[in-house]
Assembly symmetry: C2
């Protein structure tokens, strides 16, 4: 399997737990949290620990194979799609969607900013309401 070679060549030791994490993340667009990953992988590997999940995520982060999203103030989400892109989050249910548009050329920074910072990249958080929540009554909370 080529996936195995890909990670092994980067020096990642591939245990069954790690393979299960990689399999869960592969093509996953749900932007899971560490706990989401833990719960999903636990189904096949009931003894897996959070330490292993975080350990593996840390290794994948350093390899540039996953990205950390800070769009949710409560916890980190992880995105296995490392193509530069942006996100949109539902302000009611927290669902996160992808936005594959490169706005860089439209995001010129004014001189008072470029005097102080040399810009490198950018990431946009869009906020909105998802289709499902639009059909539902607003949470009164």
């Amino acid at each position: 399997m080529e996936r195995i070679e890909k990670y092994r060549s980067k020096g990642l030791k591939l245990t069954p737990q790690r393979l299960a994490i990689l399999e869960y993340l592969d093509g996953n667009t749900s932007h899971p949290t560490a706990e989401d990953i833990y719960r999903a992988v636990k189904k096949k590997h009931p003894t897996i620990s959070f330490a292993t999940v975080y350990n593996t995520l840390q290794a994948l982060l350093e390899m540039g194979e996953v990205m950390e999203l800070t769009i949710d103030p409560e916890r980190k989400h992880f995105d296995p799609n490392t193509t530069p892109h942006h996100h949109i989050v539902c302000t009611r249910c927290g669902k996160i969607g992808d936005v594959f548009v490169d706005y860089s050329s439209a995001l010129e920074l004014p001189p008072e900013v470029t005097e102080e910072f040399t810009p490198i990249s950018n990431h946009i958080d869009f906020y909105g309401v998802c289709k499902k929540c639009n059909k539902t009554k607003r949470r009164t909370k």
Copy 2:
């Protein structure tokens, strides 16, 4: 003092601790964390507790008088400037700068996104290197 009236009229009880927090935040562009606020206010009110800082920040958030920034994955930062604006963060030292530009008209979303989400607002995180860090050797870590 008008600041007092402003908050009192919104039902906020103004204790000396809260006034000190408000005074520290007023016009502050350093994007402090809860701990930054705690440490600063502690100078004048040595007995202040984190509970009071968080309690007050919570009240100010609900009043829309401060914004929570998620640009730093490690901890929340707070911004007393609630004018819509964006941020740029130094990838070496974490310094956060403000970007007062409205890019909304340039941020059109593609149909596959607007089919699923009704957009409301957006916030851009720019990443770069600040002047000071540019002069310094890169951290080898």
